[in-house]
Symmetry: C2
Subunit: 438 residues, 2 copies
């Protein structure tokens, strides 16, 4: 019994050893493809990497040039540390971390100097004990403050730097009698490193968190619009003409998956808005751009996406006897969804191009009117005994679509507020619509 087993094992081991170069080759190939994918997906990521390399090499100049080195000595290393930790992908993140770093460092330096002074008054024996007690207290308090929700969101980083610098300065102070000079060096290298980051991040191909947030919000609306269009086509089994049928179907399936990106977008939104708030005015965005409206649009978009998740489950539900019943509702559902889809896409484009939405108000109004019609149709019809099971699905779908229309109305309101507050360019069509409706 044993011999074939061991033979097999041996063969397995030999096979695996022989396959090694192949496996390694495959791994290398995978990594190359991943690299290409990431770089193609967003070439700015490549630029960011080059920026990091450039900044660190630049700051290393302190080491290369004798006169600079003599001024700062080992403290110059802090400039390198500052660059590595502060320089981030977006301008907002870099500014936020830079500000945190600066506040943390200066605050800790002041407190550290005070502690050092207090401790040095107390004599040689008590000094280390006092400093130890101070470090323990301040570190514990600062760590606890990190748990406060508001601090966690915006100043977590600064608190870490605070603890770091405080213990650094108060503990080094015990050895280094020229503590003032050390603090001075530490602060100036930090400022130099930080300024290098800010300058490079602001002026070399800047990536603005605000812009990212702006476009991702517009994108979300377009994704939702695409879903609605694809969904009704799929649910009511409507083909889009003979020729492009197959091609269209596979595209629809892709569109039906995209809304999942919106479902869990909250954490990304929250971090982007946090960064965007640090950013100065740039391009079409002023300093106090109403980012809270984007958050609102995000909330409503997610509400739509939750309902789409439920809708999606209905695609696979049993639709026997479906054709007979639903044709009456089908038309209205279809019109409502297509109008909603158009409104969403128009709103998305409106945000993207920062022009006033020209026809979305009309589409939303149409969708709302159709929703009303659908409700009254359901009210006025008397259903015979025919297959109520499949009616459940149709009624549930109709009800979800009506819900979605309501949220699209809210999205449209938010976009209109945004357009008013930030003075979107207006189109002529829009003006004529407004004058007509008023």
């Amino acid at each position: 019994m044993e011999s074939p087993n061991t033979n097999q094992e041996k063969a397995g081991v030999v096979g695996r050893v022989l396959a090694m170069p192949k496996v390694v080759k495959q791994k290398v190939f995978d990594i190359c493809r991943l690299t290409k994918d990431v770089a193609q997906d967003d070439p700015r990521k490549v630029i960011h990497s080059l920026k990091v390399g450039l900044s660190i090499s630049m700051v290393s100049l302190f080491y290369y040039y004798q006169p600079l080195y003599e001024n700062f000595g080992l403290s110059a290393m802090w400039a390198v540390i500052t660059v590595v930790v502060v320089l981030d992908y977006t301008v907002g993140a870099t500014l936020g971390q830079g500000l945190n770093w600066t506040i943390g460092t200066f605050g800790a330096a002041a407190l550290g100097l005070g502690t050092h002074h207090l401790a040095s008054l107390s004599g040689a024996t008590a000094e280390p004990i006092l400093i130890g007690a101070f470090v323990f207290m301040i570190a514990a308090i600062a760590s606890f403050i990190r748990f406060f929700p508001t601090m966690k969101a915006r100043y977590d980083y600064g608190m870490i730097i605070f603890i770091l610098t405080f213990s650094f300065i108060s503990v080094s102070g015990f050895r280094d009698d020229e503590v003032m000079e050390m603090v001075h060096k530490r602060l100036s290298t930090t400022v130099i490193g930080g300024s290098a980051c800010v300058v490079i991040s602001l002026f070399v191909c800047p990536v603005w968190a605000g812009e990212e947030f702006h476009y991702s919000t517009a994108n979300k609306l377009e994704i939702l619009g695409d879903f609605l269009e694809a969904f009704v086509r799929e649910y009511f089994k409507i083909s889009k003409g003979e020729s492009e049928d197959n091609k269209g179907d596979s595209k629809d399936i892709l569109l039906l998956e995209d809304y999942k990106k919106v479902l869990n977008s909250k954490s990304i939104d929250d971090s982007l808005v946090n960064f965007a708030r640090w950013e100065p005015g740039h391009g079409k965005f002023k300093f106090r751009h109403p980012w809270y409206l984007y958050l609102q649009i995000g909330v409503f978009s997610r509400q739509c996406a939750y309902r789409m998740e439920t809708l999606n489950a209905h695609l696979s539900s049993d639709t026997q006897g479906f054709q007979e019943i639903s044709c009456t509702i089908q038309e209205l559902c279809l019109e409502m969804s297509l109008e909603s889809s158009k409104a969403l896409k128009e709103l998305g484009t409106s945000i993207k191009t920062m022009t006033r939405p020209s026809s979305s108000n009309r589409h939303v109004a149409n969708a709302k009117v159709t929703a009303k019609c659908l409700k009254s149709l359901l009210q006025s019809l008397s259903w015979k005994e025919t297959c109520l099971l499949s009616l459940i699905s149709v009624v549930a779908v109709a009800s979800l679509l009506i819900d979605i229309v309501e949220f699209i109305g809210k999205i449209a309101d938010s976009v209109n507020d945004l357009a008013t507050l930030t003075h979107f360019h207006s189109n002529d069509t829009d003006k004529s619509f407004i004058s007509k409706s008023s």
Copy 2:
């Protein structure tokens, strides 16, 4: 016109100045209350803060004691930095960051030494240029690798430390001829700092990410169960007896809001599972605990929560003429929801206590049977013209509840898998049920 305005302004300024102490008092009071809330909410956070203070003071010993200081010199500072950055709230996070820190430091040290050796071969003029080029290249490549999704999730931290240490060592190498000794000191202080973190995090009141994840998963199920129970009571306007009516109502409203915590739980789940995977076996959890099953339960819980979001909107919907129609469905919906609710709560308790779910299978089976009954009831009934508008709401609610039952079935399956894989204790009731059903 101007004088009353300026007077008002003056009064406003004076008022504000007079109100200052009050405002400050209020702020201080707010902060105190927040501190109390955070501390009461989770006393382990206070303990964590004390742990951080303790570790930093401990590591500062390197500075206080002359013999230790003479061995390590300024490098001892790295031990403090390591502690501040590595020590995190949960054991898993500390171990993960510690491992990242160690791998990053050692990898960078090796590469830094190699670079230093290569550059020193090239002569005095070329050396700084070569080192600059190496730093640029390595920093750029490492920053780019940080964008890879798999690296971002688990090794982001290590990459930052890698860049930091590499530039530190290769750049310092240019000045410091005893580069080997510096690297040696740097590594030993890092190891000392890291070990201090790991020891304190593991042995002083440890907070396990795995345990947090375990209980938060159980909690989610209980929240969903509570929602279902409160929802049907609220939707079908069922009071729970005269005496506790008012008290019950306000409690119900709270229960109807809790599911929102589940909606956006994905990012928390992802980070907890990332930390939990670093943790060694502890208490009831083995090293390779099937955390993926918790992730699965999380996915299904969120699917339920999405539908609850839609259900919640129906609470405020128009329910005129509601009583007449829905009483037929009401009973079934109620039974189905209550069985589901019981199943969810039982599953939650089962996870919490790590005992085999004793009656949840029965409750899920009951809920499924009731869902089938509900479907066939809808099929067999012939609806007269009475108020189809409110029927939409009822049918939509019923359909959503049926959907939820399906996901609860999946949750029960996952929990059963978990019970089998991790050998939950079994109850006698359970055995008798299994033997009956098989």
